[in-house]
Amino acid sequence: MEARDLSCAYDQTAIIEHLNLAIERNNMVGILGPNGSGKTTLLRHISAALKPRSGVVLLNGVDVFTMRRRMLARKMAYVPQNTAADFEFSAMDVVMMGRIPYMKGFQSESRADMVAVEQAMDMTGTWQLRDRSITELSGGELQRVMIARALAQQPEVLMLDEPTAHLDLQFQMEILDLLRQLVDHHGLTVIVVLHDINLAVQFCDKVVFMQSGSIIADGCPQDVITEQLISDVYNVSVSIWHDEATGSICIAPVRQPSSKTSACIKRIG
C-alpha cells in the first residue's frame, strides 16, 4: 500500500500537502500526532473515502480511485471512530452487513457469507453477542462487533480510526491484542490511528508521526521515537526510558513549571 505525493484539502483549506507514505504488507502501522494534524484526513484519503486534490493512492500497485467501490470494499475495510448504533440491529445483522460488497440485489446470504460472519465473530470473541441488540452493548463490545463487521469483508487491509477512544485500559489492551493477532496469524495489514504513544510502541511494527499535514517521522518505534521528536511534535517535554516489564521504550510527559506556578512557588519559598 502506498501514497504518492498526496495533497488533500477540505474546500480551500489545504490539510495535507505532498505526502508520501509506503506501508508494507502484513504490518501493523500506527498513525500518531496531535489533534488536527491530519491523521483522520490521511486515513480517509488512503481508504478512498475522499478524493485527494492531487497524488495517487496505490493498493498492490493499483490506483484505488479507479477501482469500483464494491471491489475496493473486498480489499479494504474501515472502522470509523463513531458508528451510529441507534437502530436495534442484532450484532449478527451488523456483522452480516460486512458481506454487502459480496451480495447483489435480492440475493440472500450464502453459505460462504455465513462462514465468513462466523469466523469474524469468532476471531473477535463476539459470537456469544450475536443475538443481542447493538443498542445494548457496552463500548468495548460494540467496538469489537464493528471490527468483526470489517473482518467479514475479508479485507487485506484493515483501517481503524482511534478504535480505543473512550475505552478503559482493559478494553484498549483487548482491542490492540486482537489487531496484533490479525496481523500475526491472519496475514492482515492494519493501519490504526492512535493517541497513546506507549500502546503504539508496544503493538505497532511501524509508527508514523504527523504534524500539520506532513509526516515528521516514520519507521520502527524504537528507532524513531526520541525526546526531541516528541517535544517537536506535541510541544511537551517527555522522559523516555527502556522498560523491563513491557520490553519496549516508555514515555512520560514531564511537567514544565509555568511562569505563574513558578512565581507562586517563589513566593511560598
Partner: protein
C-alpha cells in the same frame, strides 16, 4: 408476511361488501371471482348485473386505489426515514405535497376539468406540480457549497411553505372555489376510477420494488455514511436515487388522492416495532400494512357517516394517532428507537 397478504385480501373483500348497497361477503367474493379467467369457472351462482357494476365499476377501483396509495406512502416514508436516519421524515419532506396542492389549486381555479389520458384535470396538474417541485428542491438543495442532506431538507421546507402560502393566497382570491380546494387538500378516494389506477399502480408498484431492491444499501446507511461508503455503497448516488424514486411514488399517490397525512410517517414506525430495522423485512411489511390501513380508513370514511363522506385524511389521523400512542406505551419497555 404471508399472513399479512391474506389480511390484505380479506380487507379488500370486506371493503367490497360494505357500502350503501348491501352485499354479503360471499356474494362479493363470487362477483369478484366470476369474471376472472380460469378460476371464474368454479363459481356457479349467477349475480344481478347491478352487483357487477357496483363491485367492479365503483367499489373495487376505489379500494385498489386506496391500497396502492397506502402502500406507496408507507414504502416512501420507510425509505426516507431510513435513508435520512431521521424518525420525523415522511414522504412529503421534499415538498411534494405542497407542489401537488399548488398544481391542483391552479387547475381548480382555472376550471380545467380534464387532463392527460382521461385523468381529472386536478390529478394531472397535481402530478406535474409535485414533480416540478421535487426537481426544484433537488436542484436548490445541490446549489450550496456541498450537497448535504440538511441543505436539501431545508430547501424542501422553504419551497413547501412558499407554495402553501401561494395556495392560501389563491384561496382568498377565489372564494367560490374554496370548498373544492380544501376538500382536495384533505385527501379522498371519492374520485377514484380505473384510469387513475392504471396511471398510479405501475409507478407506485415499480417504485416500491426499486426501494425494496435497495434494502441492503439502506441498512448500511443506518450505520452512518462513512461505514456505508466503506461497505462499497456509493452513498450520494444511492441517496439521490432513493429520494427521486420515493418522491415519484409520493407524487403519483398524492395526485390521485390528495394529501393524506400520517400513513407515511407512522406506519413505518409501527411496523418497525414488530419487524426491527432491517429494510429487507421492514419495507414489504410496511407497504402491505399501509395498504391494509388505508383500505380500512377509506371504508370507514365512506360508511361511518353515510351518506356524508368524511375526508380519509381525517380518519387516518383520528384512528391512527391513538393506536400509535397505545403501541408506544405498550412497547415502552422494549426500548423504542427511531
Amino acid at each position: 408476511m404471508l399472513a399479512m397478504v391474506v389480511i390484505l385480501f380479506l380487507s379488500i373483500l370486506l371493503a367490497v361488501s360494505l357500502g350503501a348497497a348491501d352485499i354479503t361477503m360471499a356474494d362479493a367474493f363470487g362477483v369478484l371471482v366470476k369474471p376472472l379467467p380460469i378460476v371464474g369457472r368454479w363459481v356457479n351462482a349467477s349475480y344481478d348485473e347491478v352487483y357487477y357494476s357496483i363491485v367492479w365499476g365503483i367499489r373495487l377501483p376505489r379500494i385498489l386505489l386506496a391500497a396502492i396509495v397506502g402502500m406507496g406512502l408507507a414504502a416512501a416514508g420507510t425509505a426516507f426515514q431510513g435513508m435520512l436516519r431521521n424518525p420525523m421524515a415522511d414522504p412529503y419532506v421534499l415538498g411534494v405535497s405542497s407542489g401537488a396542492s399548488f398544481g391542483a389549486t391552479i387547475s381548480i381555479v382555472l376550471g380545467i376539468g380534464s387532463g392527460f389520458m382521461g385523468l381529472a384535470g386536478s390529478t394531472t396538474a397535481a402530478f406535474i406540480g409535485a414533480v416540478l417541485t421535487m426537481a426544484a428542491v433537488y436542484t436548490l438543495g445541490r446549489a450550496g457549497r456541498k450537497s448535504s442532506m440538511v441543505t436539501l431538507l431545508l430547501a424542501g421546507i422553504a419551497v413547501s411553505s412558499f407554495l402553501s402560502a401561494m395556495v392560501s393566497f389563491m384561496m382568498i382570491l377565489n372564494h367560490d372555489k374554496l370548498e373544492s380546494i380544501v376538500l382536495w387538500t384533505m385527501g379522498s378516494f371519492a374520485m377514484a376510477s380505473w384510469t387513475s389506477l392504471y396511471i398510479s399502480f405501475p409507478i407506485i408498484m415499480f417504485g416500491s420494488i426499486v426501494l425494496w431492491f435497495m434494502s441492503k444499501e439502506m441498512n448500511a446507511l443506518l450505520m452512518g455514511d462513512e461505514t456505508a461508503l466503506h461497505l462499497g455503497v456509493d452513498v450520494n448516488k444511492v441517496r439521490r436515487l432513493l429520494l427521486a424514486v420515493g418522491s415519484l411514488i409520493t407524487a403519483s399517490a398524492v395526485s390521485v388522492s390528495g394529501i393524506i397525512g400520517f400513513v407515511g410517517l407512522i406506519i413505518p414506525h409501527v411496523v418497525r416495532l414488530f419487524t426491527g430495522p432491517d429494510h429487507r423485512r421492514l419495507l414489504p411489511a410496511a407497504a402491505v400494512s399501509g395498504a391494509i390501513f388505508m383500505i380500512i380508513s377509506d371504508t370507514l370514511a365512506r360508511t361511518a357517516m353515510a351518506p356524508i363522506e368524511i375526508p380519509v385524511g381525517i380518519i387516518t389521523s383520528l384512528v391512527g394517532g391513538p393506536f400509535f400512542l397505545y403501541l408506544l406505551v405498550r412497547n415502552r419497555n422494549a426500548a423504542y428507537r427511531g
